[in-house]
Symmetry: C2
DNA sequence: CGCAGCCATGAGCAAATGCTCACCGATGCA
DNA sequence: TGCATCGGTGAGCATTTGCTCATGGCTGCG
């Protein structure tokens, strides 16, 4: 749809197109004026202008700052049916990169959020950096709600409750914490906790959010879920062997975006993929290098609306997607995957 | 109006403009979609896009064939209030240049004329070349009428009657000849001729034309009016001394476009400048080198709607216009000069 | 030579766009 | 501190644009 056949034009045809394009794009005449001038019908002028554009007689170039990767972003949007994609390139330092991604995510939120918004927030290192850069121009009456429980084994600033608090502080909004662990030892305990009024209410609040801010986790031994003590290396290895490539809010998916059904699922206190689907805009913030498979899986699950990512991962994901087509039953990049099979 | 202050943009502002422009011009989203996406109001998106364009973030370039002089044409249009200008560059050979100009004029007529049109035609060398190239795709029911009398002293193909006949033959239309000389020896003879039914009718027909095809004559000793024997070198010298720089249909004007009142005027059998003003589209075909002063005068007279000209004259006329501003009372390039003072 | 299918054409309409205007909040001056 | 001014903002409308569709001429095939 982008790279049409640059059909060969005859010389006089070329001239006409160029003339029309000049009048329209440079001199800013209306199509009707031009039609009168050239003794053509208005629709014909329209068609010729269209042709001028598609055939490259009219070249529209966006003088983008060199650090913008607009082309890459468009590819991501189109390939995965995202409503937006933001790619940052901050050089080779992984830390600087994470900060850059967080900053762009913060900027996006500043633009996107307005009074009355409710934002569900996940854990994660990249997500944890967002509050540092989140400084809206004016006070915003926004509520940030934890979308999953906390993990005692990890640094406080990457826990959802803490992130919510910091984000709320940044804009003068409110924070709603989820006073529960992310993972518990058994289904029974999970259900008991879910029966708690405070916990159920918080999660419900998160489920009603209009925006979600999430990270994407991998399945290597050093991933956040393991570092935070939610899962053991054995457990993550078992998930890997089941095909899992990454997670959002502890919900693991395989490379085709299908959920990986596993017992861990039932010990999780977090929004589910279904919940996320009902959230208007799910913003994923990813920066750790070498997570392309995780990102690809999650993107194919079709829950992400906006992806904020570093350039390396962005290219890698697009490469992967091109070389590892999605399996049947879930078309690659289908913007609206059917929910039935989940 | 074209070269606005390329205001300096802050970095994030620049980014936003580039992003919006990308979405609009490259991805072809609507302004409303973009507004929703960026959480802005639609009018704001519109204004930002406008700014993006004026500030040069969006660069629209017309890949014009190198032989097109679109920029020059726009300047001519704007400076002289023309409805169209066509500039040809055919290298250094004056003959080739004249042919190129005639060819472009012919093309223009092919586009412009349609069934029922009446075209008034003047004499001239460049005009005389037009019929050779005038080959409309289909038969056209167009009537070509001589707008001035003939001149026995000049080659037949540059006489209006002959040009009309050839043009009519080219498209299968009709030719209406004016069987009278262009100049006669006295006012009395002119008036007698004008009293002739046939002559009056022909001239009247020409005056009703919707299009006129005219040449622009100079005031040098070798100009068409002298070569054709209409005027002697003494007469043209006197006209020069009165400030005349050029003529259309034998009507001389000075460098500011004001008619040069002279006795010759009354011995002329041709449409007047007033008549031309009432013709919808006056197409001037000019190619002889070194006629810029003549062209400038005629353009300032405000009768020309479409100018077909070689590149050398085009540049020279614009130069002249910039350096020799029109005198008070007739603003330079005024597209609609008042008719009162004529 | 006749016919079917095709592309090109312009009428007409729905959507998108540009623009005007009244309003609001910020800034600067008294 | 109060007031005037100005730049920016979104509602609402007129214009412009994109698109669909019925029509007609042309081409190629029978």
């Amino acid at each position: 749809m982008r790279d049409e056949l640059r059909e060969e034009l005859r010389e006089d045809e070329y001239e006409l197109l160029a003339r029309l394009a000049q009048r329209y794009y440079v001199d800013e005449r209306t199509q009707e004026e031009i039609a009168r001038e050239f003794a053509l019908s208005r629709p014909k002028v329209q068609r010729l202008l269209d042709r001028a554009r598609r055939s490259g007689v009219v070249a529209i170039h966006i003088q983008a700052p060199p650090w913008l990767r607009l082309e890459l972003e468009s590819q991501l949007r189109e390939t995965f049916g995202l409503s937006d994609a933001i790619v940052c390139s901050a050089g080779s330092d992984p830390l600087a990169e994470r900060e850059a991604v967080a900053q762009r995510a913060a900027r996006y939120l500043e633009r996107r959020l307005h009074d009355g918004c409710v934002v569900a927030v996940s854990h994660g290192r990249a997500v944890g950096e967002v509050p540092r850069f989140f400084r809206p121009g004016s006070r915003l009456d926004v509520t940030f709600v934890s979308a999953m429980g906390g993990s005692p084994g990890v640094a406080a600033p990457t826990n959802p409750n803490e992130i919510c608090r910091a984000l709320a502080a940044g804009c003068g909004g409110q924070a709603v914490s989820l006073y529960a662990p992310a993972y518990v030892e058994s289904v029974e305990i999970r259900d008991q906790l879910l029966a708690q009024e405070a916990i159920a209410q918080s999660l419900d609040r998160a489920a009603q959010a209009s925006v979600a801010l999430v990270g994407i986790g991998g399945t290597d031994d050093g991933c956040t879920m393991v570092r935070s003590g939610c899962l053991t290396t054995d457990e993550i290895a078992r998930l890997r062997s089941q095909g899992a490539v990454g997670d959002v809010l502890g919900n693991y998916v395989d490379i085709d975006g299908r959920p990986v059904a596993s017992p861990h699922q039932d010990r999780l206190l977090a929004l589910t993929v279904e919940h996320l689907r009902r959230v208007g805009t799910v913003v994923a913030v990813v920066s750790e290098p070498e997570k392309p498979r995780a990102i690809l899986g999650i993107l194919r699950a079709g829950v992400i609306g906006v992806l904020v990512v570093d350039e390396g991962n962005a290219r890698a994901v697009l490469d992967l997607a091109a070389h590892e087509p999605a399996m049947a039953g879930r078309a690659g990049g289908d913007p609206l995957p059917s929910q039935g099979e989940v």
